[in-house]
Symmetry: C2
Subunit: 485 residues, 2 copies
Amino acid sequence: MGDAISPKDMGISIDRNEGSPIYIQLYEQLKGYITEGILPEDSRLPAIRSFAEYLGVNNITVVNAYKLLEDNKLIYKKVGSGSFAMPLKDEINLRNDAVTVSDEIEFDTDVGTGNDMINLSTASPDPELFPVGDFRRVLNEVLERDAGRAFMYHESMGYKPLRESITEYLRTCGVESEASGIHVISGAQQGIDIVSRVLLANGDYVFVESPTYNGAVAVFRSRGAKIIEIPLLSDGPDMKELDKMLKLIKPKFIYVMPNFQNPTGCTYSERKRKHLLLLCRKYDVMVVEDDYMSDLSYLDKVEKPLKGLDKENRVIYIKSFSKIFMPGLRVGYMIIPDSIKEKVMNMKYMTDISTSGLMQRVLDLYFRSGTWDKHLKYMKKEYSVRYIEAVRAVKKHLREASFSQPYGGLNLWIKLPAGISSSELFERCKEEKVLFTPGTVFIKTAKGEQYMRISFAGAGPLQINDGISTIGRVMEKMKSNAKRA
Amino acid sequence: MGDAISPKDMGISIDRNEGSPIYIQLYEQLKGYITEGILPEDSRLPAIRSFAEYLGVNNITVVNAYKLLEDNKLIYKKVGSGSFAMPLKDEINLRNDAVTVSDEIEFDTDVGTGNDMINLSTASPDPELFPVGDFRRVLNEVLERDAGRAFMYHESMGYKPLRESITEYLRTCGVESEASGIHVISGAQQGIDIVSRVLLANGDYVFVESPTYNGAVAVFRSRGAKIIEIPLLSDGPDMKELDKMLKLIKPKFIYVMPNFQNPTGCTYSERKRKHLLLLCRKYDVMVVEDDYMSDLSYLDKVEKPLKGLDKENRVIYIKSFSKIFMPGLRVGYMIIPDSIKEKVMNMKYMTDISTSGLMQRVLDLYFRSGTWDKHLKYMKKEYSVRYIEAVRAVKKHLREASFSQPYGGLNLWIKLPAGISSSELFERCKEEKVLFTPGTVFIKTAKGEQYMRISFAGAGPLQINDGISTIGRVMEKMKSNAKRA
């Protein structure tokens, strides 16, 4: 058993002016160290008295922080020898916070936030962008052609002509598929839910990227699954960590967004994609690919889905149209291996019988009439204007922040300057009528405070500039206040 | 311990010409007696030798039948004293058959059954009936008015103006509600699924009517719930049986369709409705009311939902528009007590984020513009023609069958003449291009063979007459074949 880590080496910072009690501050920082593996497993924590002395706090403060860590299974005690970081195998890296899905609920503008807000939080498209004229034309054409038949139930798998159109379209994205393997769903969220209900049982493990989309984590947890987070680097997951974890634990699947990941905008390198599939083969693990965005690249380079590289039918592919088409339509699709096809069909039936037949027929005609290609071109053009503006404004107004520029998607994931807390910045910007998403929504440890997500889907170019400039102003004020204090 | 029941009193009939082995025939009949409570709990079954002798079969046949009953926990053995019917408390009345939801999957006409079929199986509306013109008008009005906003996400609870319209409409049905208690869902099946996921855990009990809708039972079972069947009489559940079971077991809820029940068409009497709510109060149990049909009464008398009598917020009310409006729209709603509101919202979000905003706005405008009332009147008129024709044809062509005439809904539940098996009749009618739903889809015991469901939603009046006349002809042939044999 090694010596305890010296209190000095811990780099704990206590802020007596902050609202939260000191023992909570201490707890949060230690929790972050442990869940992020900064404190190696089984390493001894500083003794209570010396730690308290070093920090200039009462013993009871450290006792309370350790108690909370123990309650949350982040450390364990050995009588007579002190407290130790829980090994990964047991609880470390487990998201054992209660994820509430409402974190990311995005309201209709007329219901949620007022109209005078600049909303850089929602990743939902600006309704002004939607080409209603085209939609009406296609919709009326379907009603003319199919009349009442457009309103019947379809097979739970989906309207066959649409499944055929999707197969055609997937070919242009570098994915080979068959209509009999396509399952139409009422949006990607339903796909995540159905797959989880088919594959996950209580106590199963799921690996996810860290940070990741909360709406998925909430579903996995609702199945009683344990979540293991694999850190994301700029070119994809930390493969060493992934390999290490796969050696320890066999998850039911790994949930990934390889293109323009939410929230980071990260796109996996070709090398990491192949490496990921190789590891999954080695450890016989499935992948759930959530492709909510791969169509939206601002470069000529188009990102193929991971599914395109999948020769072994290990990848369950879930495709959303919500961001690129419109959220309110509630249509998406999945590619499902034959081995679970029957179960997925039954689960889909139990969930909502089938997806709106009318919307399926509309989407099908979009594909067949070339309206889809036209739509995609138009959305890319519109979004790229916003993208360029958002990148420009962040570089100009948030000079001390840093971010890795994505080349697609609708989000910028920004690291805040030291000393700025994301949730505090959020509260202050809200007062100034600007919304963004604080990193704490995606990362439940103290680290979340260092990040923010700016989404440019729901605001126009002028609003984007105004909003980001306001954020910059608020940030400056927070810094100078901190200095003065 | 009483004497064994005499083999003579058992009324077992063995048919050596039937395809299934004799021990299976014996098992099926005994299973029926036990699950239906015809054999009282703990009553002794006939001794093997005397039973075999009486039936004129080998001892081993009875041994095998008893073995199968024991494997299925329908009887228990006491060494030296024989075999006994399992008490209700343990396993009796439990549906321990594997319900596959596909039993009732209803395909689009162009995908499933051929167009030359007369389909008296589907309870989905005839697409020819749907007033596409009105729908187009309302839809285009919404698109004109709301443009891109019609396609945004809404609150998971649903588009607020629609929830207000529903509240107004419910008042006319005798149900007081508030918009804040209404949850819009993507069809009633989703409502059943969400409520089950919120309320049911592994091993919980749910009481259902017998027979009932399989799609609901499949969901309850997917949550690991145990199903207790309460027999339906002509005016509602067998209240004595219900009281007896409630004394023994506290279920999470009782799932009912008090108006024009599926498949029986049964409507609960006022007395039984009140009695049901009283029992639920006494035993502190919730009710899930699946109202898929109460609007469709062919008499001037309109049936109120059970929810209208619920003063204690014990009834979760799930409303479908699939039969009365159109299945492919995938919109319905629930009234949920405040105590589970938060959980239901979270579950809805996890399930599919929200229901199509466009369809919600269309439905809202239907209500507000009076188009809904017009639609309802029209559907009632159209369906009543089919209803009258179906009743007339059954009385004329199926003279030896019996049924209790419902005064609403889309189904006739018919008891076949003795000696006619529903599944065999189904196969033979299918050859003659007529489909109905055999009782075995709803009742998994031998009793299911005695019933059939004829639905008149999906066929025109002429087809209804032709189809029922064909069924009558096939039935006659089966009977005369049986006589000759």
